[in-house]
Assembly symmetry: C2
Homo-oligomer: 543 residues x 2
């Protein structure tokens, strides 16, 4: 059997290696455009920031080493121009000469390329994408050679923000611009993105969301970006707007795509017999909805490629779908992770979601380096099934996400986590796991035991007619009425039982305690501000 693999980065090399292990008699041939194969695309921002000092470290395998290790053949510097699915051939160009190669099975793993808007100045020196090791070394060299002191980054997705953090750590003055009204769109709900944005801005990274770029400034070299809302001067410009699947060569092949991305089934088969696809050029399915989904991530590429290879080899193979999982280091002390549906995605998919934003310790509060998680859980109001999570923290947000991934895959309701025996010791976690604590809070909300104003509601002004009650251990909210929680053993003088009261503390917990008591003493209109002062920007109107 002869298997042709188009593309030699994550999915292509993974599939080819697995195919050879499944059947060393198979002839497996990778055609790839660049000279580097199997490089660590996800590591590029950290190379730019200097954390990964050498370009070599980004290259997992050279073609020679890879061939030796796997037995697959690698043809670099060659571009596939077309696929004939009738004749079962691919046609391409190598060293200026056209060639045609027959296949029994074909894997399309041609990846994606950065999207660069067709705008003036886009080809100026000093404009960089962040997709290949050459991009990264180009950017790094440029910053050093031109002694760049400022950078503008178009795109506030994960990669744009990773580059922002790394350039900021090098001492550059960094501005990130995005057309979307928030950073990390689709990944985080707006109020969560706003929190991260405030933290980034506090750390000196400028953010300009809801702002479209129109051209690259400068004549001889890039001097920043022009936007609809004005010019942003910068010594170097990075475009991290997004990527587009590299599938133009499939035109006329009969292979079905959606917006250029190859459609696949659970075996990573396309609509055409013997043709498979995996990696950034391919669609997968969403595990929750079953719908087609583009998950252009290194992790998805590896997993889907393994499935494709096993399917070709006649082994059990079924890709159960992606969850849009992501994790990112936004600042040295701020990680962000997410999986599943955001609140708005859940609503758009027909769910009636209930959510909570809660703040918990991330490990024993007395252990050095302990900090907090900010966790937003999204569950279905009817079934209580967990639908998604978004987490911030200086610590192990990936742990919180991985628990959610497992739980969502197992279709668990939030109550199913209540008594699980999670790992606890002071250097690692809390006696009741932060994930479980978040479930408890959401459960309290679902049964009406906890009544809240969510951060999103608060930001939208829903609490504007509420009187703010300061539930901190000592008065700490200027203009608010402070109540000493431990002294509330009956009605509070001067506060009407049907008055609208917004209970605000550091995280939400003392507010919950006070609400619990006030309800007992007959108060009917209290609301706890989820996430308290830690998450929200609390302002009390002057009377």
């Amino acid at each position: 059997m002869k298997i042709v693999v188009i593309g030699g980065v994550a999915a292509g090399t993974k599939a080819a290696a697995r195919l050879k292990r499944n059947d060393r008699a198979a002839e497996v041939k990778i055609f790839t455009k660049g000279e580097d194969i199997s490089y660590a695309g996800c590591g590029l921002p950290y190379f730019i920031g200097g954390m990964i000092p050498s370009r070599k470290q980004l290259i997992v395998n050279t073609p020679e080493k890879y061939e030796g290790l796997t037995g697959a053949e690698v043809v670099t510097g060659c571009e596939i121009k077309s696929v004939d699915t009738q004749k079962k051939t691919v046609t391409g160009i190598k060293d200026g000469r056209e060639f045609t190669e027959h296949y029994d099975k074909l894997i399309i793993a041609s990846g994606a390329v950065p999207f660069v808007p067709d705008m003036p100045g886009k080809d100026l020196s000093g404009v960089f994408c962040v997709r290949t090791p050459d991009d990264a070394t180009g950017l790094s060299d440029y910053i050093r050679d031109k002694s760049c002191r400022s950078a503008v980054i178009a795109g506030a997705g994960f990669i744009g923000l990773e580059v922002a953090e790394n350039l900021s750590s090098l001492g550059l003055d960094v501005t990130v611009v995005d057309a979307a009204p928030q950073i990390m769109p689709n990944a985080f709900d707006p109020e969560m993105a706003d929190y991260a944005a405030r933290r980034l801005e506090s750390a000196g990274i400028h953010l300009l969301t809801g702002n479209k770029i129109t051209s690259v400034l400068g004549k001889e070299r890039a001097e920043g970006l022009a936007t609809e809302k004005g010019d942003i001067q910068a010594d170097v410009t990075v475009l991290a707007i997004g990527i587009r699947p590299s599938t133009a060569f499939l035109e006329g092949s009969g292979i079905k795509t959606f917006k250029g991305t190859v459609l696949t089934n659970e075996k990573m088969e396309t609509n055409v017999p013997d043709v498979y696809a995996a990696g950034d050029c391919a669609m997968v399915s969403n595990m929750i909805t079953g719908e087609s989904m583009w998950s252009a991530m290194g992790s998805t590429a590896n997993i889907a490629a393994r499935v494709a290879a096993n399917a070709i080899s006649g082994k059990p193979a079924s890709y159960r779908g992606a969850l849009g999982t992501g994790v990112v280091r936004l600042l040295p002390d701020l990680n962000a992770g997410r999986t599943g549906m955001t609140e708005s995605q859940a609503r758009a998919s027909g769910y009636d979601p209930e959510t909570v934003v809660c703040v918990t310790d991330d490990k024993a509060h007395y252990y050095p380096g302990s900090s907090f998680f900010i966790t937003k859980l999204i569950a279905d109001k009817k079934t209580h099934r967990l639908l998604g999570i978004q987490v911030f923290g200086s610590g192990a947000v990936d742990k919180m996400v991985d628990i959610a991934v497992t739980g969502i895959a197992a279709k668990m309701a939030i109550e199913d986590f209540d008594t699980l025996d999670y790992a606890y010791a002071p250097p690692f976690s809390t006696a009741i796991h932060p994930f479980v604590q978040a479930c408890y809070v959401l459960e309290n909300k679902l049964i009406g035991e906890l009544e809240t104003i969510t951060p999103a509601e608060y930001a939208a002004g829903k609490a504007s007619d509420y009187r703010v009650i300061d539930v901190l251990p000592a008065p700490g909210i200027p203009g608010a009425e402070w109540i000493d929680l431990s002294e509330v053993n009956g009605p509070v003088p001067g506060i009407d039982k049907d008055e609208k009261l917004l209970l605000v503390c550091a995280r939400g917990k003392r507010g919950y305690f006070l609400q619990n008591r006030l309800k007992f003493y007959g108060y009917t209109n209290t609301r706890v501000l989820e996430g308290g002062k830690t998450f929200n920007v609390v302002k009390v109107k002057a009377k």
Copy 2:
């Protein structure tokens, strides 16, 4: 309703606080022996090591603060002497005077006390347990006041080893002795414990397992421990042998116990109506087997106490059982975590387990601070259901454990993890999650694609008649035949096709690659050494 709670550390305070939130009208009264309530027992080793500088930090709440926050009443310095379940009263002594208190509902949360063998010298100055803040401050003060330079610790369980690490970090010469043949018995299989033991010994901590202590040395103060195998001189002696439930006062109450530990159902009810138990004095169930299990952990105490409180308040409450989860920092660069069944426990419970020990990156190999996980997975051979995990690493072993906890709770087979969309970015993980990689390796073993010698088998001499083949990238195993993996494209000259070959590399992966090829070329008797040189002490017999 009047609820009496016996005990005011983890379970007692948790239950009482929850009860008051469930119904502020309820009268909730805690009787507790010590003066400290709600202290962080799990943090004591880190206080001793100086990481937690002040005793105050170990005290979560003073009685006064706790009463103010919760509305529960706390009576300290009082010992309950008996329970009359007919009259529904408890009788105790406070300030030398006996008192009797009626209850509608009773929660027994009396905890446990250190087990101190009745041996000569046990009451000498310089002998310490590690159970209460007073124990910890006593030990700390003694080490400082007597300028101790060496310590002997009886007990190589989690607490003994945590204390060992902390005392070692203070510069003391530390010896740990245990009657069991291995460290961390019941928690880790012997070959896993052996690995940890080698690491501890390399770090200068002396271990003497399979060695019973017989007395404390010294006349005026402790000068070490006498053991069956000789004396261990030390300036200070720590007993961390185990704990015993504090339930002697229940004698005659009709409340059923097993080896002194109160038996409970899934609502934490005892056999006697209106009497509940939680915490270190109570049994829970094993989630996998459903059998009674003693899980004397802070996490279990908190979770079970919450269940008991909710059950009393008529809320949904069901404790699904513990998994024997544990996580421990053994050295600054060695964490250990586990959950579920060990291999031997699985066998004893009637399973036919398959296992694997594998070594994987813990995050992107090029990211600074990346290291490896050593993971042992245990699954049922018939159903492939995950039964347990044991993990070592310098990084997030707790993450690996928490994934397993969730998966075991959801009765997942190892294949169910294969395509899960776990969180990946270079600072956090690898493109294929280390947990999933471990599943892949075990699956390969289960279908016969990977044939191995396990570390346990290797240590037991099962590979003694195998010829060792060095599969490292460059020769690195003295006395072994080195094979260049990338050059194996047919039969290897000088090696017989039915010769017994043990393929050894750094971690097991290159060995697997070579086995895959050798099998293709007709070799019939190859075995890969699981965990390679990283895990095993590889010795090649001189010919």
